[in-house]
């Protein structure tokens, strides 16, 4: 695998993705809307319930930050499905595979193209959220809450691992499906368990503390390893040319 080849593939996919309005809006609107609206909810809660304890407000802020996990688990599919199914439909993988580039470089390039913009968008939105939420929660907490150690675990371990998991699942789905919408719908199912965890956190039945987030990270990283192995098996010259499509 050559890093420069992977980057060449990634930059081509990024350029193609950026020309699609749907992807641009998807990457921009959902994270930034969340970044702007969640602090407003914090303001509403703080002004309506001045009796809330600081611990309850901190729990609320942690669960709101976890909301961005939904974005990070769904947004890579928008790019990855075009990068994979799009190439499958256009039959453009064969000319690329006929160059000396390794299949590993192509695969890593496609992963970079889907994961990097997602993380940039979500991290930017999370940063905006944290700044605004610190300000809105200050009347009760008396200080800014973010960032905590647990925040870094979520941003730097759990989010990239979840984005990678989504891309790996996209690759597996792409091998069996021939249209972008179907791929997005199937791969979109990964959002369900993440949403479930978010709801559980909101209902207070799941504490998003360091132990839980590290545990989640280990589980998602383990899924990454398994799905990456499976994706590598599916994303093979022979497999693509004789079985895909």
């Amino acid at each position: 695998m050559r890093v420069d080849d992977a980057w060449t593939v990634a930059s081509k996919d990024l350029r193609a993705a950026w020309q699609r309005k749907g992807i641009r809006y998807g990457l921009g609107v959902f994270p930034l809307l969340s970044a702007a609206s969640l602090p407003l909810v914090v303001r509403l809660v703080v002004t309506q319930r001045p009796d809330l304890t600081p611990a309850a407000v901190e729990e609320l802020l942690r669960s709101f930050l976890f909301f961005f996990m939904i974005a990070v688990s769904s947004l890579p599919t928008a790019i990855a499905s075009y990068a994979l199914i799009g190439e499958k439909v256009e039959r453009s993988l064969e000319p690329m595979l006929a160059t000396p580039v390794s299949v590993g470089s192509v695969l890593v390039g496609k992963m970079i193209a889907a994961v990097v913009p997602t993380l940039v968008a979500v991290w930017t939105a999370a940063a905006v959220f944290m700044v605004l939420a610190n300000r809105e929660a200050a009347p009760i907490l008396g200080h800014g809450y973010f960032p905590q150690a647990v925040t870094w675990v979520q941003l730097l371990i759990l989010m990239p691992a979840a984005a990678l998991m989504t891309v790996n699942l996209d690759i597996l789905v792409s091998a069996r499906v021939s249209d972008v919408r179907s791929a997005q719908q199937i791969a979109g199912l990964v959002v369900l368990p993440v949403s479930g965890l978010y709801v559980a956190a909101q209902l207070g039945s799941l504490a998003l503390d360091m132990g839980v987030l590290l545990g989640m990270s280990v589980v998602v990283l383990a899924i990454d390893v398994v799905t990456l192995w499976a994706a590598r098996r599916v994303f093979d010259r022979e497999e693509i040319l004789t079985r895909w499509g």
Binding site: D5, T8, V9, K12, R15, A16, Q19, R20, E90, R91, S92, L93, E94, P95, M96, L97, A98, T99, P100, V101, S102, R237, E238, L241, T242
Partner: protein, 299 residues
């Protein structure tokens, strides 16, 4: 040079290519003719090291394409045009060629890209989206992509499919230009006239290699003889030297000379039988007739 030895590929129970043994020397334009499903694309993909080989072997410049490392080296010196052009509709021709130049680690990318855009008359639309190009332009772009690494071996799968006559002519001229530069070119096609015009040799494939022909080689075995008053005796004399039933034509006979028989023997035999010869002309069987006969035999 391309060399295949007993090259065979199965897909489950389907035998796609069977025991193909072939040598294509450097600088030759070789046509693979065959109906859909004859194994042409599979053969090309095996030669390019893109898919595995069930049995037998394929070598390009002595490198075994079944060995992944050697296949990588083969692909670096190879240009391929798949049956479907496989272009990125969102990119421009310039971006497309630049992308493939990067994958091939071409030095002086810009000059190479501009040179090909110019050579294939795409410069005017170099920065337009591929989706807005005509079919002919797309095919020219796909050809330019196949040539971006200045390959010594070019594999073209149906290069003139869906092209109008003028665009087809341009492609044929390009093939001849490649041959002039010493490139080895393999062309998959089912356009007989295209194969005849551009190929040094032609292999008729229908899972197995049925015939190997050279369109430029003289075929003297079929003789059209003009005979006045063709009697039974004259026909019998002709039949004695023919390995197929002699066909009566409006002005004479069509004789498939037996191996070992020569035109003077035929003329002498006909004269001895009382025939008055007005014309003797060797008749080349057309590629179409050879092709159809080979395919019919295979079925």
């Amino acid at each position: 040079m391309i060399e295949t030895q007993g090259l065979t590929r199965r897909f489950g129970s389907l035998l796609a290519v069977d025991d193909l043994t072939l040598t294509i020397p450097d600088g030759e334009v070789f046509g693979l003719l065959g109906p859909n499903g004859a194994g042409k694309t599979t053969t090309m993909r095996m030669i390019a090291g893109l898919i595995g080989i069930t049995s037998g072997a394929a070598f390009v410049d002595g490198r075994d394409v079944a060995d992944p490392r050697q296949a990588d080296i083969v692909r670096a010196a190879l240009g391929i045009l798949p049956e479907e052009n496989g272009l990125y509709s969102d990119l421009s021709p310039r971006q497309t060629l630049d992308f493939f130049a990067r994958l091939h680690h071409v030095r002086d990318r810009r000059a190479r890209v501009d040179g090909l855009l110019e050579r294939l008359s795409l410069m005017d639309r170099a920065d337009a989206a591929v989706s807005t190009l005509s079919k002919g332009m797309k095919q020219r772009l796909a050809l330019a992509r196949a040539l971006i690494n200045e390959p010594r071996l070019v594999l073209l799968d149906e290069p003139t499919a869906n092209l109008d006559p003028a665009a087809s002519l341009e492609v044929r001229e390009l093939l001849l230009e490649l041959r002039g530069r010493g490139c080895t070119v393999v062309v998959n096609t089912h356009r007989l006239e295209e194969a005849e015009r551009t190929c040094d040799r032609i292999g008729i494939l229908h899972t197995r290699l049925l015939r190997l022909l050279s369109p430029t080689e003289p075929h003297a075995e079929v003789i059209r003889v003009g005979v006045e008053d063709s009697t039974d005796a004259v026909r019998a004399a002709a039949q004695a030297l023919s390995d197929r039933p002699v066909e009566a034509t409006g002005t004479g006979l069509l004789v498939h000379l037996r191996v070992g028989a020569a035109v003077p023997d035929l003329v002498a035999a006909l004269v001895d039988a009382g025939g008055r010869i007005t014309q003797v002309a060797p008749e080349r069987p057309t590629l179409e007739s050879v092709y159809l006969e080979a395919i019919a035999d295979a079925r």
